[in-house]
Subunit: 346 residues, 4 copies
């Protein structure tokens, strides 16, 4: 089979490096270019030490982009929206890992990003990139906006319950725990190791931009979401406190709802065990994988259901999910090049 | 001044070692005995390596207890209730760090501990040991049941709001993040380093025994509490999602409520800054100290208030608070021997 | 191509789980059985949570072993030597991950293991399993004793220098830093998270059993080796201080020696950069991979050469190397099923 | 007793904050000023969050310095040597935590710092600040240059052996393991949490400036020293491989040598136990303390002695030692304000 030609725009950061790592082992892909304006001319393994001895690729500039089949974008907010027409001229298909085309209206960008979107006419061309919710649309799409990490972990945890109208949507509280790689490759005083080590730091008690994606996909007006940084490099875990409309609903009932929704999804695992150490999802078990593990426990004293999800923010929360989208767009197996099992112990 | 004579029953565990550490530097205390049935005869520094070159004390057995002024108890659930009459015969004052006398009724023990309390007649002799709520009672008390760590962190975070009836108590959701020392000194498969390292492990989605203390002290019927183990040895941090009855209430209003309640409390700090890295409470900043740092942020899009607290579970959550109680019971300064500032960075 | 049939004896520990993980993705392998006496009948994913949704295999007992093409052994010291004749009757080829057949004489077992080897006649049937040193022998071997983790990291770091007689072998000092997974799956007081967290614990200042392998393979009488546990789950890194006979030797000269020796080895990378963060080998960069990264720096003030190596102890130090051996024994590509690139950041 | 007046020049970094923390609890000290050019006017607790509710002190500029009894200096290399005459005009006694006056000759600065010392005439006025080696001189000194952290940990580990001529000084190899706070408060790409987390990073295989102090104090020509960053914020641990001239020397003999040298030193503990988890020194046990724990093990197969030391780099390696020097200079008890016991577990 002839390989498709793929390039990565914005490949010097963590999700760009992750995508390079994945594409280097993807059987149907030829990597054509990887851009980084500030590192143009350097070997990609100079920035991504795990890629040593794996590739002789060098970074180039966006200006030098060749025509390809698929272009992945990983750019700071505001950049891909400005240059999208150029990128569209260079590729048949685009997967944007950034946030510029995830929301489905100009108004949403104004509200959540305080951003006057320069190309509102392009917004509707993009499909929101969580395959478990939009698999059929993504298969037909040319342009996909891959979802944010906290959004992915929260939406996948809650979607079956919201879709089936099983909970009191006014009351949902979501606590996300996040690793340091979520903040990206750029150094800041709070990421200095002596300051970041061992933290339990509520960095976003409310107002996180990923909430916009949750509201859009879960089709509600509000969600009480907070995010806390903890001692971890990779990983997002959410603890979602939801309140069942029907207090008689059992865990078995809930299980059926999740299984029905996600039964065909290769990257969703329902994790809910009665014994052992790993009874519920944990991010370290999915590190390096594209899994989203989901588990839940019903409070026997109330109608509260605690739903827990865990992903690797650079994989299912970014590069892995983007590649999953590409696989669907190109008619490949959904998990092609994404079948890493995960490490234990780790 | 003549020093008071103090012994520690159950001194081989983490809170016992912590208490030894504190008492060795307390200016008004002479440590008489420290018990451990399985380690009787050994130097205490054999189990607590930080005590090397600090003391020549050896563990003894409970059977050998001498009469003292104050006895601290740190025993497995069920043991102090069984032997309390014996302990009362040995000391004028008792501070029990365990859970056997924290709840104020036989019924509560049946519900939360499935425990048929053998000495319900002694329950009412004990004052619940959070000085910030019961300072005057503790000053007059002979017997104090020092509060649990998760209970302390949650109650102190929420008490002013509950006392003043400011929130919708049906909706409160509390997420506690806990370190590994909370599990005590005993090894188990889940505490094995390769398995415990880097976890985000929801070990108690509902039904934690400390909830009983929260309900008792906050005087409510229910609280939606979950606890998650994270990569940390010492520390508890709670993120409390509460919903204000009056959505117009400002952060300044809230501040006044906390200041009024805790203004005289030497160990409560309101931490709420507009800039810098440590804008809200974090457990690592209070490690080794007796502080409970409390902060809060109001969600501008709803009536949700996010209240965050941080303590060292072995200090304000155990040994430090027990000593704070003793100081009050003995008429000493509340913070005597408890003025360690905390380390930074750490 | 017809797949070879492979079973794992002793599959409940960390290296057994790692091997299962690898074999599940190996294109030429069919996993037949995985034994664990104490877990017989349980699904393997009950002990290895990363294997969820990957296999329906259950543990069985050694007694139930079927005939296979290759048998991997991962047993406590003393067990494989006792049962080796039985295992040999069940498989054409055996790769023993344990220590019972690594040393090449009965005397060495007496000296280093204080062990009276029950089957000295079988010792010579085994080839020592570091492919970079014994590739041709392994290709022809039926029985391979895969090397120990500290031994692998040290031997690979030093072999080219020793082979070419470039250093004063009396003076070599090796400091190994090790993660907690090296201690295996069994809990002990020192592996309890509050005690193991953040340690710098010299657990073997001298006398480590792996030294026996180093002396054998480097063909010397002594090596000054110490091992220190640090905060890490996976990984071994050695810092080897060696003293060049010819003080005029340059780093370029040294490079040539390593390149000549390891140029054809897919899993050796010489890591030695002038700038950037990862200038020398680090275990986190090789986590999950089968690489042994090696770097060196010459002290400009003396004839000391500092050689640094890094491996994942469960991969190149155990399961990965065992599989690398199997690939060679079976005539497969050396890196088949072992091409994971590694994660960054992590 | 009248308190002495003390100021800190360069108080915004980690050792400055540590010194503030210590001086706030020192019974004989009144803190007069704390300088930081870039933070002048800010409360010190804005930079040192552990100091909240402990002081209302604000940073001022060096230009505003008042006359005091003791001045502590914590300045970048080159600054204190340039301004020393000004500082001398402001204080009776000076303790310089920086490196500008640790070496005892202009030539040493040229060799190790490539620095043309601007005030060589002041060098001899300074006593090298390790009290265990120079207690009597420090008691009489007006000016002390407090030792570097790696230097302190190494010198204290080796001094008794070198002083008594017990080892072959040509062969000593020292491996230091260091935490991230050693790098100071300033962010850099290598200190970014995702990059610094979990490292085993040999950052100085040779040529560390602290070697100059070791050579000076141990009175030798060379020492083979390497330093490796590991996952830790506070702490330095050295593993020193030394070779005894007399192979018959026993551990008991060695013990006597150390006890004789350090028997009166309140901050040296010989840690060497036959059982238990903490058999040898570990930095986490001394975190927050001024202890230097020292232990050793003799290799039964050779004349190698492995000596291990552990300190908190910000305490005995910086601020604690500086205060210990001040105590001696002022005629106070050596451990006044430095008697923190340390935490366990941690």
């Amino acid at each position: 089979m002839k390989k498709i030609r793929v390039s990565i725009v914005g490949a010097s950061g963590y999700t760009g490096g992750e995508l390079l790592r994945l594409l280097l082992r993807h059987p149907n892909v030829e990597i054509v270019q990887a851009t980084s304006e500030s590192n143009a001319g350097k070997f990609v393994h100079k920035l991504h030490p795990n890629l040593r001895k794996q590739t002789t690729l060098k970074f180039c500039s966006i200006k030098e982009l060749e025509n390809v089949d698929v272009l992945f974008l990983g750019l700071p907010h505001g950049v891909s929206s400005e240059k999208m027409e150029y990128f569209m001229s260079k590729a048949n298909m685009i997967v944007d890992k950034g946030g510029d085309f995830r929301l489905n209206s100009k108004e949403a960008y104004e509200r959540w990003y305080s951003y006057d979107h320069p190309h509102p006419e392009l917004i509707e061309k993009f499909v929101y990139g969580i395959p478990e919710l939009h698999r059929d649309e993504i298969k037909k799409a040319k342009f996909v906006a891959s979802a944010g990490c906290n959004a992915t972990a929260t939406i996948l945890a809650l979607y079956p319950l919201y879709k089936h109208g099983l909970i009191d949507v006014e009351r949902t509280v979501v606590e996300a725990k996040a690793g340091s790689s979520q903040g990206g490759v750029k150094v800041n005083p709070g990421s200095h190791h002596p300051e970041r080590h061992g933290v339990v730091r509520c960095y976003k008690p409310y107002g996180h931009r990923h909430i916009a994606e949750m509201l859009q996909e879960l089709d509600v007006e509000n969600i009480h979401f907070s995010a806390t940084s903890i001692e971890m490099v990779r990983g997002v875990s959410t603890t979602c406190h939801v309140f069942l409309k029907d207090p008689e609903m059992t865990e078995k009932d809930i299980w059926k709802v999740y299984r029905e929704e996600y039964g065909d999804s290769p990257f969703i695992r329902i994790v809910k065990e009665k014994e052992g150490i790993y009874r519920l999802p944990e991010p370290k078990i999915v590190m390096g994988t594209n899994f989203c593990d989901i588990g839940f426990v019903k409070d026997v004293n109330s109608n509260r259901l605690v739903v827990i999800s865990a992903i690797d923010n650079l994989m299912k929360g970014a590069a892995g999910q983007a590649l999953q989208c590409m696989n669907l767009m190109c008619g490949f197996e959904e998990d092609l090049g994404l079948d890493f099992i995960g490490l234990h112990p780790v």
